[in-house]
């Protein structure tokens, strides 16, 4: 019993390795056309954000920082246009471009 449970745990661990978190999926883009980290940070800073760090997730730039309203947020940006697609504050979605239009 214990052995099968350990096996189950290892299986679920290996299945959830380096995967997209699934919070947002950007459209497929050519990696060569992407904005650089510096360009993304400059664009956001000019709009009143503070950028802490960023990583790729779901074909987007996922940026950690503070929005113009001084909220600690995670933002998904279109990697080519740099437009904000989704913003979540501590796991609560506060902006979703799919609902914004």
């Amino acid at each position: 019993m214990t052995r099968s449970m350990i096996a189950m745990m290892l299986l679920s661990l290996s299945a959830t390795g380096a995967q997209a978190t699934g919070r947002f999926q950007c459209e497929a883009t050519d990696r060569a056309t992407w904005l650089s980290e510096t360009q993304v940070a400059e664009k956001l800073t000019a709009a009143g954000w503070q950028v802490s760090h960023m990583k790729e997730d779901g074909g987007c730039w996922e940026v950690y920082g503070t929005d113009p309203e001084n909220r600690r947020v995670e933002a998904y940006l279109h990697p080519v246009s740099g437009d904000v697609q989704l913003v979540s504050q501590r796991g609560t979605i506060i902006f979703d471009i799919r609902n914004a239009n």
Partner: protein, 197 residues
């Protein structure tokens, strides 16, 4: 063998990652690198606290599943160590969060978010548990001590909720607490068996 049974050995082992976290916090400082360092440490301290809760709560079910195991008997005698460690890492986690937010206004501005208030509830529930996890309180409180310690269950549920809500991806949270839930179910099945015979 003597080293293994010395209480300070386990204390030391459980504290060791915390010392590492504190040192990392000190060196990462407050520059822009410090922010990503802080978010790494927030993640690590929170996960460590949850892990200690899972270990502490797995001991009793494991004693039912493997009644003759010396290891789980040994663990049972040291269960409070894991509980206090869970509180210690939650305290470090909360301190990192408060330092990162920088002001009480900023903290209050997001206290109503589900990912945040579940964390505050989990932490608040751990406080009385940690304060009473010493021999003197155990002796003084008598049978009330066991009742108070049942706060562990809502604390664990609040911790799981906090983890699920605030973190991208539920996998790590579900692996930790899924295992614990499975153990609790096994214990219930085991303890109910004699009645059926």
């Amino acid at each position: 063998m003597e080293l293994r049974d010395h209480p300070h050995t386990l204390w030391g082992l459980l504290t060791l990652p915390g010392i590492g976290f504190l040192l990392l916090w000190l060196v990462s400082g407050n520059d822009s690198m410090g922010r990503s360092g802080t978010s790494f440490l927030l993640h690590q301290t929170g996960e460590m606290s949850a892990r200690m809760i899972v270990v502490a709560m797995a001991i009793s079910p494991m004693r039912h599943i493997l009644p003759s195991s010396d290891f789980w008997l040994w663990m049972r005698r040291r269960r409070r160590y894991f509980g206090v460690a869970a509180f210690g890492y939650a305290l470090l986690h909360t301190a990192l969060y408060l330092a990162d937010m920088g002001s009480s206004d900023a903290v209050l501005a997001e206290v109503a978010l589900p990912g945040i208030w579940t964390g505050w509830i989990a932490f608040t529930l751990l406080v009385p548990l940690a304060l009473t996890s010493n021999d003197a309180m155990l002796f003084r409180m008598g049978r009330h001590w066991r009742r108070l310690q049942r706060l562990t269950y809502p604390a664990a549920i609040a911790t799981l909720a906090h983890w699920l809500l605030i973190h991208d991806g539920a996998a790590a949270a579900l692996v930790h607490f899924g295992l614990l839930a499975a153990l609790q179910v096994l214990r219930l099945l085991k303890t109910q068996k004699p009645k059926e015979i």
